[in-house]
Symmetry: C3
Subunit: 262 residues, 3 copies
C-alpha cells in the first residue's frame, strides 16, 4: 500500500497518482492534500497522529517549500513503514513514533528508537521538472521503494547520517501550571497544544490565560457554544468549543504561548 | 466494500482509513467528508440519495454531535447493506430506502419495510478516546461487520428495538398549491425541497413565494443567471439558477418554508 | 482502471462512484472534483496535463454546462485510453496529447495524430434524469466501455465524424517579445500561460507588462513574497510568487493577455 500526503491543490495530486499507477500495482490511499500550505511542522504533527494507524506501507509525503533547491529527497525506514519525503524534517516525528511502536512490539524499545534515512536521487532525470517534485521525484521513488520492498534494493538510494531533524517543543510543567504552545488548529477550530493530557484530565476546571474553563472529556458535555478544555484524540490538551471554534473563542493561533494554571 | 462518510476535516478521515486497512482488506470508497458540520438531517438526506447506487456494502457514517456522551453506536442491516453509525437517526432514512428497494426486488415490499438495528459496543475499549469515535469506534466496528458478514456474528453487537428515528417532514399538497420546506442546499446552490417533482413537472410556470418562475427539465433550458424550477436528480422540486446559485437568487436556506402555487 | 473528473460538489461524485461499482469491478481513481465550475476550457487544460501520467484507463469526465440539452455524449479513443465525456470539447486536447504520445511510441506519430470519437446513447433510459448525467449517463457508459474493452463492442456506441473541437490559442512570439494569454490559475495562485517555456528559460530577467521580473527555475530561488517567472511543470511560462499568489501579485486572471518582453 502507498499513501499520499501533500499540500497540493487539485489536480496536482492526481498526477502523482498517475505516476504511481504507471509504475506499480500498489493500492493507493490518500492521507490528505490540504495540509497547511508549506507548513512542514503542522504536517509533521498530523502525520505522527495518523500514519501509525495504517498497516505497514510506503508513505509519500510532499510538503516541500524548498522544491527546486538543493535540499535532498529521503526515504526513512521506521518499523515496517517507509516514508518518502523531502529532507526538511516532515517525516521525522512520525518515523520516531513508528520506530518506537515497532520497538515496543518486539520488546526492544528504547527512548530513542532507531530508524534509518536514505538519500534518494531522482531529481537529475532529464524529464524531472524543478517545480513539481511530487510528480517527478517523490511519486516514482515511492512506487519503486514499495515495489522493491525498501530502499536498500534500489541503486538510486544511499543510506546517510546527515538529515534534517524536526522536534516539537517540550512544554514546561510545574506544580501549579503548565506552559506550552499551540502546535496546530484543526479544521473544527480545536486548538491543539503540546501540553500532555494528564496535566488536566483529573481536574474539573482549569485557568486558561487567567479565565476558568471547564475540563470535560467530551465536547457535548458542554452546551453548544460553550468553551471547554479536553484531552484530544492525540493525547494532548485541546481548547475547544462545543459545536463552535475554539481558536476564535480562545483567540489562539498556531505558535502562540499557552498558559494553563490550576 | 466499505464506504466512508463524515463531516471530519482533514486528516481525521485518514485515521479512520488506516484503522480499517489495519483490520480488513476491504476496498474503501469515500462518500464525502464535507457533509454539513454536525448536521444529522442533511447528511441523512444525502445518504438516502447516494448509498442506494452502491452495490451491497458496509457504510461507515460519522456525523456525530453527541460523541463522548452516552448515545449508542448502531449497525443497521437493510437489504444487503450494513450501516455503522451513531444512534442519532442519520442512517435511518437510507435504511428505509435500502430495505424498500430490497423488498421491491423480491416482491415482498411493504409500506414500512423491515430493517434491523444492533447496538455496537466498542466505546469501552481502554484505548478508545472520548472525542474521536470515528477512529476508535465506528471504523473498527465497520471493518469487523464487513469481515464477519454482518453484526450477528459479532459478540459486541446485540439486536435492539430501541433506536433514534429520523424522518423528513411531509409536504402539504392541495389543488392549487404545495407547501413544504427546504431540506438541503447543495454545493451548486440548488435549493432542494421536500415537495415531490410530479407536483410541477407538467407545468410551464409556477409561482414561488408569489413570483412566477419557469419550470424546466434542465438548467441549461434557461439563460445563464436565470431562475428556474426543476425536478432534481432526487425526484424532488428544486429551485435553481442556470450557472448560478438558487439559494441566493430565491433567498432560501435550509429549513425555510416553501410555497408553490399554480 | 476508471478515473473520475468533474466539477461536482459533494456528495454527487459518490453517486457516480456507486453506479460504477455496481456495474464493474474496475479500480477507481479520482482526478479531481473541484475543477473550475462549468469551465470546459480550464478542465480541458488540466486533463491534458494530468491524464497522460496514467496507465491505459477509461477516464470519465463530467464538466457539462449543457446537461439536459441535446448536446451529445461521446467516447474518445486515443492511444490506449478511453475518454467518456460530454461533447463540448473537454476531452479533445488530452485526446490529441494521448494520441501523439501513442504515435511517438510506435514511431508513427504525425503532427495531427488520429483519435476516434463515438456517440454514446444512454440519456434516453427511462430512469435517466435531466439534471445529473454524471450519474445517469457518463458513469454507466464509462463502466460499460471499461468492461467491454472499448466502445466498438457496445451497441449504444456509434462512431461519428461530428464532434465539438477545442483548442488553446497560439501565442505570438517575435524576436524580442511574446504575447499570449492566461490559460488557468492553479490553486497556489500560479498564473499559467500559453507561452512556451523555451521563450524564457535561458534569460535572467524578463519584462512582464513593462516590469522587470527575475526568471528562475524554482520558486524557492526567490525570497518568500517575491515575484518570479518560471517554466511550470507543464512546460509553459508561469508567473508566480515564492510562497505567495502570483495571480494577486501580477494582477492576472484567466483569459487576460500577457506580454513578455526581453
Amino acid at each position: 500500500m502507498i499513501t499520499l500526503a501533500s499540500d497540493f491543490p487539485s489536480p496536482y495530486p492526481a498526477a502523482m497518482r498517475g505516476v504511481i499507477c504507471s509504475r506499480s500495482d500498489a493500492r493507493i490511499e490518500d492521507i490528505a492534500h490540504d495540509f497547511p500550505r508549506q507548513d512542514v511542522r503542522a504536517t509533521a504533527f498530523w502525520l505522527r497522529e495518523v500514519l501509525p494507524y495504517f498497516p505497514p506501507a510506503t508513505h509519500c509525503v510532499v510538503v516541500d517549500p524548498g522544491v527546486g533547491t538543493d535540499r535532498a529527497a529521503v526515504v526513512v525506514e521506521a518499523g515496517d513503514h517507509y516514508l518518502v519525503a523531502p529532507d526538511n524534517g516532515v517525516a521525522i516525528p512520525v518515523a520516531r513514533e513508528l520506530a518506537a511502536r515497532s520497538g515496543a512490539d518486539t520488546g526492544t524499545g528504547t527512548t530513542d528508537p532507531a530508524f534509518s534515512v536514505w538519500d534518494v536521487d531522482y531529481a537529475d532525470d532529464e524529464t524531472a521538472s524543478n517545480t513539481f517534485h511530487g510528480r517527478d521525484v517523490f511519486a516514482p521513488a515511492a512506487a519503486d521503494v514499495h515495489d522493491a520492498g525498501g530502499p536498500d534494493a534500489l541503486e538510486r538510494c544511499e543510506q546517510t547520517d546527515e538529515w534534517v531533524d524536526l522536534t516539537f517543543p517540550d512544554p514546561e510543567v510545574v506544580a501549579s501550571a503548565a506552559r506550552g504552545e499551540v502546535l496546530v488548529v484543526d479544521g473544527f477550530g480545536n486548538v491543539i497544544t503540546n501540553i500532555p493530557g494528564e496535566t488536566v484530565s483529573d481536574r474539573d476546571t482549569i485557568r486558561v490565560g487567567g479565565e476558568s474553563v471547564a475540563v470535560r472529556d467530551a465536547y457535548a458535555a458542554r452546551d453548544p457554544g460553550e468553551k471547554l478544555v479536553t484531552v484530544g484524540s492525540h493525547g494532548n490538551v485541546e481548547l475547544a468549543v462545543n459545536r463552535g471554534r475554539g481558536d476564535e473563542a480562545f483567540d489562539f493561533a498556531v505558535g502562540d504561548d499557552v498558559l494553563l494554571e490550576w
